[in-house]
């Protein structure tokens, strides 16, 4: 046990330790490189402050103007008011943050607490899953499921939902896990393979839980969803309208209607939403984008991210008018989060965008929209790309920048915005922002 011969470690404290030690070298290098970049940035910022310089953290790049060269603009002028984008720019900063220890894999789901300010997420090590709740006072609570069975150890597909009653539902590979956070009781069920599944082993693609205890699960490579009945511990399979319709995302509206967005695997770009009311017949509507589903208002759902539609539970579909030219599909990959005052937020290249739901025109939408810029991070400068008309508009991020600042974004009952930054995948941050108009 005592590594240095001749040291005075008491012999009665010696013990043979044959357990091999193998640290994760790749994780050390990645974390070390992140720390190094952070130190350099801090040093540069301190130098700029001492010298009275304005750090050029934001570069405004006008696409299609012909020159091609990025134009630096004074940060203070941009952040203070309306700019050429036509919407307000506000600098966001990190108010609280928590990072999971190295043994955890990246945070892959983030769910806002619907009853109080806070956020739910889960983490996984090689031997266990832990559910976490973090509030705005930095209080972190943990519930553990120990140990992982072998069937849960591999795979990355998952679904996650937490009800207002504090019941967390986690779908991992082909297992549904229920964690009752008030009592700590944990139960799990094997989800039956859908009949239409191919040869690939199906895994949970999406999961939704309603306030009245209904749970729906969509599996990969299938054209059906599984409705779980907690009273009987049984799953019932509900088929999608066509055998080529593959569920992508789902959520319960507040009136209990389940909305399942799907794409048609036989027709590229064809998307729809399948509505399953609490009572009455099920029906489908066509939408533009099936990436995410978010409950909105008393009886509506927002379906899509890049081209969101407002879908009422009786089937009225209205395309939202907003600054959608700022939302790029390659960036916005998760459902928009609901903010107070009938607004939604979604991840965009330089940060996140808050935009209104009921605007009548693009101009009106831009007037009420705010682009919250992410703080300069280890990825380097924040780049704002203006939408241009030229076909040669660059869409690829500069090599030194992250393609997007946040991997995940959600909001809680107080309208606080929580994110997982792209630069640090085991970190959950609460963003500080100015009050909106």
């Amino acid at each position: 046990m005592n590594p240095a011969g001749g040291t005075s470690w008491p012999s009665y404290l010696d013990y043979g330790d044959e357990q091999p030690v193998q640290l994760n070298m790749a994780a050390i290098i990645v974390e070390g490189a992140r720390l190094r970049r952070r130190r350099r940035l801090a040093k540069a910022a301190a130098t700029a402050l001492v010298c009275g310089l304005v750090p050029a953290a934001v570069i405004i790049e006008q696409a299609g103007t012909g020159s091609g060269a990025p134009t630096a603009a004074p940060v203070s002028a941009l952040w203070a008011g309306t700019n050429r984008l036509g919407i307000d720019l506000v600098q966001s900063s990190v108010r609280n943050e928590v990072s999971l220890p190295h043994r955890y894999q990246q945070v892959s789901s983030l769910v806002g607490d619907v009853t109080r300010p806070g956020v739910w997420f889960w983490g996984r090590t090689t031997s266990r899953i832990s559910l976490f709740h973090l509030d705005r006072n930095d209080t972190l609570k943990t519930w553990s499921v120990l140990p992982l069975s072998s069937r849960l150890r591999t795979g990355s597909a998952s679904g996650f939902a937490v009800t207002a009653a504090g019941v967390a539902w986690l779908g991992l590979n082909s297992t549904l896990i229920r964690i009752e956070t008030r009592t700590g009781q944990v139960r799990s069920w094997a989800i039956p393979a859908p009949r239409a599944a191919g040869t690939a082993r199906p895994a949970v693609e999406a999961l939704a839980a309603s306030a009245n205890g209904k749970v729906a699960v969509a599996m990969s490579n299938s054209s059906s969803i599984a409705m779980f009945n907690q009273r009987t511990d049984r799953f019932a399979e509900v088929r999608m309208p066509a055998s080529t319709d593959q569920p992508r995302s789902m959520a319960f509206a507040r009136d209990g209607t389940l909305g399942v967005s799907f794409t048609d695997s036989s027709r590229l770009g064809q998307a729809g939403v399948y509505l399953l009311p609490r009572s009455g017949p099920q029906f489908m509507e066509n939408v533009d984008d099936a990436i995410g589903v978010t409950p909105y208002g008393a009886n509506s759902l927002i379906v899509g991210v890049a081209k969101p539609d407002l879908v009422t539970t009786v089937g009225h579909v209205t395309q939202l008018v907003g600054p959608t030219d700022l939302i790029h599909l390659d960036v916005a990959t998760s459902a928009p989060a609901q903010l107070p005052n009938n607004k939604l937020s979604t991840v965009v290249g330089p940060g996140y965008l808050s935009y209104p739901v009921g605007a009548q025109s693009v101009t009106a939408a831009k007037t009420s929209s705010v682009l919250y810029l992410a703080a300069p991070n280890s990825c380097g400068t924040v780049t704002v790309r203006l939408p241009g008309s030229a076909a040669t508009q660059p869409t690829e991020p500069a090599p030194s920048t992250c393609p997007w600042p946040f991997r995940l974004l959600t909001s809680d009952s107080a309208g606080d915005v929580w994110v997982v930054p792209a630069a640090s995948k085991r970190t959950v941050e609460l963003l500080q922002k100015k009050k909106e108009k």
């Binding site: 009665y12 010696d14 290098i29 070390g32 490189a33 553990s144």
Partner: protein, 168 residues
């Protein structure tokens, strides 16, 4: 020296020192998983400063990072996981070997010391640092180091479990 050379050199450094650092961290924390986290944190800090510290004594740098991170970790209680419920889904196969029992016993005895006594004991006798070095690292008076070390040794000498083991 290029970045690839840096990585190769650093990887060799980690390979040669990881066992030592994990064991140091385990003595400080009493928990193998947390010890590996601490060691990994220390090595990541060292990688961030590698070009500056490589020519000196990088192992001392890692050691200092581990001790400091452990102290910080201990102070920030909210970071500690607090399992709400542990529901085993599979039987845990226990290793009842004598070595494991002995190791657990030593860690339990160390856990019965106060945080400061444990820290001082490990730095003083496991790492063989001088009282002055420990005082500088922990930012306390040398006299405090001396008294804490003496108290810790006294407690361990009279620790019932360790005494029983010695007698048997």
């Amino acid at each position: 020296v290029g970045r690839e050379d840096d990585v190769a050199e650093f990887s060799a450094f980690v390979a040669n020192n990881q066992a030592k650092m994990v064991r140091l961290a385990e003595l400080l924390t009493g928990d193998r998983s947390r010890a590996e986290d601490l060691a990994q944190h220390g090595f990541a800090q060292a990688y961030a400063a590698w070009r500056r510290i490589r020519a000196g004594e990088p192992d001392l740098y890692v050691r200092r990072c581990i001790v400091n991170a452990h102290t910080d970790w201990w102070r920030r209680r909210s970071w500690r996981e607090q399992p709400f419920a542990l529901i085993p889904q599979e039987p845990v196969i226990s290793d009842a070997s004598a070595a494991l029992a002995e190791r657990e016993m030593v860690l339990r005895a160390l856990a019965r010391l106060t945080q400061r006594e444990r820290l001082v004991l490990v730095l003083r006798f496991y790492l063989d640092l001088s009282e002055l070095e420990i005082a500088a690292q922990l930012k306390i008076a040398p006299g405090t180091v001396k008294s804490a070390a003496s108290r810790a040794l006294g407690k361990l000498r009279t620790d019932a479990e360790l005494r029983a083991e010695r007698v048997s």
